[in-house]
C-alpha cells in the first residue's frame, strides 16, 4: 500500500514541478505569478530529498542505526540529549538560518530572477545540502567534534591551524558586513532605530527576570519580551513623528556605525544570561514566525514577479554589484545554496543531539533545503517589487544621486521606467523619508515583505508596520550574531595569543578577556567603518569579500568530506563531494583572483586602488571622493581588501594540497584509515 502511494506520489510531484518550471519558462516577456517559482522550488526539494539524500544516506555514508550516537553515549540531559528528529530539524534550521540567505539573493536579483533561482536550487542539491549532511555525519562519528578538530584529526595539525585562522578571518568580515546591513537599514530612520534600540532594555529586563525574579521561567520572560517588542514597534511611529524625540533617533551612518561598535564591545563583555541568551530567544521566535508568515503570505497573495527573468546586467555592469554572472553570481548568493558557516553548526550542537544515525538525512540534508527555501522567498520578495524601486533602493548614491528625481531619471535610462513620484510614494507607504541607496538586502526584502504581508493582512494601513517589523526581525538577529560572534572571535584570538604569551590565553583572566574583545571589535569595526564612509557604497565590496570567504570555507569543509570518504575506502562514491568541491574551488578562486587582479576598477581591488592613488599623487580628486584624504583612504582600503582576498585564496590552495596528499596516501592503503569511533564503543560512561 505504502509502495503504491509512493509510486503515485512521486510522478505527481515531478509533474507539478515540471508545470511550474514550464510556467516560468513560457511566461517570458509577461509577468508570472511568484507561486510558480516557489512551487517549482518545493518540487525540486522533495525530489532531491527523496532520491539523492536517500542514495547518500544508504550507499555513500551507509548510516547505521545500531551505532550509538554521541547523544546516546554521553546523554547528560543538558548538552548531549537524544532529540526527536522533527524537533532537531527545527533546532538545526533555526541555528543555520541567518541574514546570509536573505541578503545574497536580494543582491543577485539585479540579474533577473532566473539565474538566482537556478543556482539556489542546483547549488543546494549538489553542494549545500551535501556539505551540511556529510559534515554532520563525520562529526557524529567523531563524538561531536568541531570542524577545526576534525580537520586536525584527518588532515593533520597544520591544515587544522590554517582552517582556524581562515574561520577567524571570515568571522571578522561577516560581522562587519552584517553590521553594515544594519547601518544601511537604520540610517536616518528614527522609527527603525527606536525599535532596535528598545530591544536592548527589553532583553536586559528579560535576562533579569529569568535569572533573578523567576529563575528559569523562560516562557514567561519571552511572553513579556514579545509584548514589549510589539509595543516598541507601535510606539516607534509616534517617536519618529515627535518634534523632540524624532531628531534624537535620526542618526547618520557614521553615528550608527560607532553605536554598533560600542554595542558589540559592551554586549560581548556582559554575562551571557543578561543580554545574549534572552535576545537569542527573542530573535529565534521572530525568525521562525516571520519565515512561516512569508511562505503563507506568498501563497495567499500570489504576487506577480515584476523583475524580468534576465536583465542586461548579467554582463557585469550592474549597479548593485559589479562583475559578470560567472563567477560573481555564485559568490553573491552564497548562503542560500551552500554556506561554509553551516559546517560549523553541523559540527557544533546538532551532532550532540542526533538520536539515530538515520536522522541525519532529515536534519542535515533537509535542514539545508529549508534554508534554501528561505533564500527563494527572499529572491521572490525582491522580484515582486517594481524593478525601478529595486534599483533605487540598491544602487549606490554614486550612481543614482541623492534625489528621487535624479534617481528616477538614471534608472529609467537603464530601461526600468520609474517616476520620482513612485519612489517618493514607496517611501511614504513604509513610513520612511527616503528609500534611495539602502543597499544590503534588508530594506529591499522588508519592502517586498511589507507589500506581500500587507496584502495578506492589514492592507495599506499596515504596510509601514510590516516594513518596520521586517527590519526589526533582521536587525535583531544580526545584532545577536554580532554579540555571539564577537565572543567566539575573542575566544579564538585568545587561543592564538595564548601561544605567544600564556596568560593572554586564559579566558578567566579579565584583562586578557578585555584585550581579546577589543582586538576582535577593532578588527570588524574597522571594516564596518570603512564600509560606511566608502563613497562607493561599501556593500558591493564587503559582501563579495564575505562571499569569497564563505564559499572558501565551504570548499574547505567539502575537502574534508572528500578526504574522509577516501579514507573510509568509499572511493567509488567520491564524486558526491568531489563535484561540488571542484565547482566551489573553480568559482571562488576565479572570483578571488578577479577581485584582486581584474583590470576593470569596478571589479579589481588593485586596479581601483591604483587609479585612486595615482590620481591623488597628481593632486586630482576623482568622484565620488571629495578630498585628497578620501582618495588616499579609498586606495588604502582597496589594497587591504586585496590582501584579505589573497589570504583566502592562498589558504584554500594550501588546504587543497594537503587534502590531495592525504587522499593519495589513503587511496594506496588497503584498509580504511578514517579516525572513527568504533561502532560498539561503550554506552554511557565508558567513554570518559
Amino acid at each position: 500500500m505504502n509502495k503504491l502511494a509512493s509510486l503515485l506520489l512521486w510522478p505527481v510531484i515531478a509533474i507539478v514541478g515540471a508545470i511550474s518550471f514550464g510556467a516560468l519558462a513560457l511566461g517570458r516577456g509577461e509577468t508570472v505569478s511568484a507561486t510558480w517559482l516557489v512551487t517549482a522550488a518545493l518540487a525540486v526539494y522533495f525530489i532531491a530529498y527523496r532520491f539523492y539524500s536517500k542514495f547518500i544516506a544508504e550507499r555513500v555514508l551507509q548510516l547505521d542505526d545500531t551505532r550509538p550516537t554521541p547523544a546516546v553515549r554521553h546523554n547528560d540531559g543538558m548538552d548531549y540529549v537524544p532529540t526527536n528528529k522533527w524537533v532537531l530539524f527545527g533546532h538545526h534550521f533555526a541555528a543555520i538560518a541567518g541574514a546570509g540567505p536573505l541578503v545574497g539573493p536580494v543582491l543577485a536579483a539585479q540579474m533577473g530572477y532566473l539565474p538566482g533561482t537556478l543556482w539556489i536550487l542546483a547549488g543546494v542539491v549538489v553542494a549545500g545540502a551535501v556539505q551540511d549532511f556529510i559534515v554532520l555525519f563525520i562529526s557524529v562519528r567523531r563524538d561531536g567534534k568541531s570542524l577545526g578538530e576534525m580537520i586536525k584529526m584527518e588532515l593533520g595539525p597544520v591544515p587544522g591551524s590554517l582552517a582556524l585562522v581562515g574561520v577567524l578571518a571570515i568571522m571578522i568580515i561577516i560581522l562587519a558586513v552584517l553590521s553594515l546591513v544594519v547601518v544601511k537599514a537604520l540610517t536616518a530612520s528614527p522609527w527603525g532605530l527606536f525599535t532596535i534600540a528598545a530591544t536592548i532594555p527589553i532583553a536586559l529586563l528579560m535576562g533579569i527576570y529569568m535569572r533573578v525574579v523567576r529563575p528559569g521561567h523562560v516562557g514567561e520572560a519571552s511572553a513579556i519580551g514579545v509584548v514589549l517588542l510589539l509595543a516598541a514597534l507601535y510606539l516607534g511611529r509616534a517617536v519618529a513623528a515627535d518634534p523632540t524625540w524624532g531628531p534624537m533617533f535620526t542618526l547618520t551612518g557614521t553615528q550608527i556605525a560607532w553605536a554598533i561598535i560600542l554595542y558589540g564591545a559592551i554586549a560581548a563583555s556582559l554575562p551571557v544570561w543578561l543580554m545574549l541568551a534572552p535576545r537569542d530567544y527573542l530573535s529565534t521566535f521572530l525568525k521562525i514566525g516571520t519565515v512561516v508568515a512569508l511562505a503563507v503570505g506568498i501563497y495567499v497573495v500570489a504576487p506577480p514577479l515584476q523583475m524580468p527573468e534576465l536583465t542586461r546586467f548579467i554582463d557585469g555592469s550592474g549597479p548593485v554589484f559589479s562583475g559578470s554572472l560567472f563567477p560573481f553570481l555564485f559568490i553573491t548568493i552564497a548562503c542560500g545554496s551552500v554556506s561554509g558557516f553551516h559546517s560549523l553548526i553541523s559540527s557544533g550542537t546538532t551532532p550532540k543531539m542526533i538520536e539515530r544515525e538515520s536522522h541525519m538525512r532529515f536534519v542535515g540534508f533537509g535542514g539545508m533545503l529549508a534554508e534554501s527555501f528561505v533564500a527563494i522567498m527572499a529572491l521572490t520578495a525582491a522580484c515582486v517589487l517594481d524593478p525601478g524601486i529595486y534599483f533605487a533602493m540598491n544602487a549606490p548614491a554614486a550612481a543614482i544621486g541623492t534625489t528621487a528625481a535624479n534617481a528616477a531619471h538614471v534608472i529609467s535610462n537603464w530601461g526600468f521606467t520609474i517616476t520620482p513620484d513612485a519612489i517618493e510614494q514607496t517611501a511614504k507607504d513604509i513610513g520612511e523619508t527616503s528609500i534611495l541607496s539602502r543597499a544590503g538586502g534588508a530594506p529591499t526584502l522588508a519592502v517586498g515583505m511589507a507589500k506581500i504581508l500587507a496584502q495578506a493582512a492589514g492592507g495599506k494601513a499596515l504596510e509601514a508596520f510590516w516594513y518596520h517589523f521586517a527590519i526589526l526581525f533582521e536587525a535583531l538577529f544580526i545584532l545577536t550574531a554580532v554579540d555571539a560572534g564577537t565572543r567566539v572571535g575573542r575566544f579564538m584570538i585568545q587561543d592564538m595569543l595564548g601561544h605567544v604569551y600564556k596568560p593572554l590565553g586564559d579566558t578567566e583572566f579579565l584583562p586578557a578577556n578585555l584585550l581579546g574583545t577589543a582586538l576582535c571589535v577593532a578588527a570588524w569595526g574597522y571594516f564596518l567603518y570603512q564600509g560606511v564612509v566608502d563613497p562607493l557604497g561599501g556593500i558591493n565590496t564587503l559582501w563579495q569579500l564575505f562571499g569569497v570567504g564563505n564559499q572558501m570555507l565551504a570548499g574547505i569543509a567539502l575537502l574534508l568530506c572528500t578526504s574522509v570518504l577516501v579514507k573510509m575506502k568509499r572511493e567509488r562514491y567520491v564524486w558526491v563531494t568531489l563535484v561540488p568541491t571542484a565547482w566551489l574551488l573553480v568559482t571562488t578562486l576565479t572570483a578571488g583572483i578577479e577581485k584582486i587582479f581584474h583590470s576593470d576598477p569596478s571589479i579589481g581591488f588593485i586596479a581601483l586602488a591604483n587609479r585612486f592613488s595615482e590620481a591623488a599623487a597628481q593632486g586630482k580628486v576623482l568622484a565620488p571622493a571629495k578630498s585628497i584624504q578620501e582618495m588616499q583612504r579609498v586606495a588604502f582600503n582597496n589594497y587591504l581588501d586585496a590582501v584579505v582576498c589573497g589570504a583566502f585564496v592562498l589558504l584554500v590552495l594550501a588546504m587543497c594540497v594537503y587534502a590531495i596528499k592525504i587522499c593519495l596516501e589513503a587511496y594506496k592503503q588497503a584498509k580504511p584509515t578514517a579516525h572513527e569511533i568504533p561502532p560498539m564503543a561503550g554506552v554511557e560512561g565508558a567513554a570518559a
Binding site: 540529549v81 533546532h91 568571522m171 541568551a277 560549523l344 555571539a484 579566558t507
Partner: protein
C-alpha cells in the same frame, strides 16, 4: 478530567485515556518540543534524566541548572551563522 502528575512530565498517559484527558500531556510535549527547537534549556527533562539514570544523586536547583546550561551554551560554543 484526569490530570497527569507533574512527576510524569513528558510521559504519555495510558493509551486508554480519552483524547481530552490526554490534552495536558500533549501540551507539555508540545512545550518541550518548542523549547528544544528554540534552544531553551529544559529543567524538567534534566530532572527526568537524573531520576532515570542517576537515582539518588544530588540534582541542581532550577536556578543552578539554568545558570550552568546558559553559560555552557554561549560560553565557548561554536560561531553563529551568517
Amino acid at each position: 478530567m484526569r490530570r497527569v502528575e507533574p512527576k510524569a512530565a513528558g510521559e504519555a498517559p495510558p493509551a486508554a485515556a480519552e483524547p481530552v484527558a490526554r490534552l495536558p500531556g500533549r501540551l507539555r510535549a508540545l512545550g518541550q518540543a518548542w523549547r528544544q527547537v528554540v534552544g531553551i534549556p529544559d529543567y524538567e527533562r534534566y530532572l527526568e534524566h537524573m531520576a532515570a539514570h542517576h537515582p539518588g544523586d544530588a540534582v541542581l536547583t532550577r536556578r543552578e541548572f539554568f545558570a550552568c546550561a546558559i553559560d555552557r551554551k554561549y560560553g565557548k560554543s561554536g560561531p553563529r551563522c551568517c
